[in-house]
Symmetry: C2
Subunit: 194 residues, 2 copies
């Protein structure tokens, strides 16, 4: 039986949204390996944006991440920020995707993140020796691209207009949640006391 998603399947936004919602372990069951060969960097970034959208719909911070194998381009890990959903003080888009990937050799992988990584995620990315980082939004935040480059990691900027718009909307609507996500609840309490 040929798998439902295969080489002939047309790549549309609706399909990329579907892939974002399929658990990583299930992808190898329902997607032909060769399908991923035709998936572009822009497509993977859009999958990450759909994960960010999923997080936002759940009431959380809209940041997503996707990790692929550089050779096969298969998805090895993905996830989104769960500060609200899991009461988790540092599960960002990147940490979520890395947790999902588990104990693998990250030196042969690329991580797509919808937003420029924070200090913790940037540190984790070089400590786990990622080969490449693709950043989907340096409009709403930026800063660690050079740190990662200095560590010998290939850093590419590939902005996604849908992701940028989503994050901007969220930040305007929930500024305190955004502050907590970056700097912790301590920063929100300090701000409230002023």
């Amino acid at each position: 039986m040929e798998k439902y998603i295969n080489e002939k399947t047309e790549v549309t936004n609706a399909l990329l949204q579907l892939i974002a919602h399929i658990p990583t372990d299930s992808l190898s069951v329902v997607v032909e390996p060769r399908f991923f060969q035709k998936i572009s960097d822009e497509n993977f970034m859009r999958i990450a944006v759909f994960l960010a959208q999923k997080g936002y719909t759940e009431g959380g911070c809209p940041i997503g991440g996707v990790i692929i194998d550089n050779a096969t381009r298969q998805i090895l890990g993905k996830g989104h920020n769960t500060l609200v959903q899991e009461n988790h003080p540092y599960n960002h888009g990147e940490t979520s995707a890395i947790r999902d990937a588990g104990r693998i050799d990250f030196s042969k992988t690329t991580i797509f993140t919808t937003l420029s990584p924070c200090d913790v995620c940037a540190t984790l990315i070089y400590m786990r020796q990622f080969n490449r980082v693709v950043v989907g939004d340096i409009t709403n935040a930026s800063g660690n691209e050079r740190v990662l480059g200095d560590k010998g990691i290939q850093v590419d900027i590939l902005e996604d207009a849908m992701g940028i718009e989503l994050y901007k909307k969220y930040r305007e609507k929930y500024p305190k949640l955004d502050l907590e996500d970056w700097k912790g609840l301590a920063a929100v309490i300090k701000l409230d006391k002023k």
Copy 2:
């Protein structure tokens, strides 16, 4: 009904081990708040060591962490490394305890860690604005104490002989697991190729 663990309860190693094994949310149910007032820094570090011991018994890396409120000295979060147990590439002693604590104001807390923090944990500790870090082992590893001090965090060294001995034994027995825990599976694969 007075709670089982109260002011009159004698503080012994066996009791500290019991506390290490009680889920954080249950501690307020079975321990009188005033009990924690008589618990010393050395006691909290020993609880962290018993968490490290728990991790080692499970087949994992023996590193534990405990977070307390500076004023009440109640335990707000605790945990241990779960690289093996959860197939989790960065759940160290500190990240585990912080995850357990959830969305709280860390600026009024102290984190006890049985081992000198790695770059990721050190970054997370200052990003979440901890007030104080107590390190239980700078014999087997060290390096980020000054980084944390420079960020304005109070750093105290309080070595625990039992924890140091445990980590030393583990490192001798499982050197590759130790390498993976610090530098990722990529580092182990590079070493194997040599």
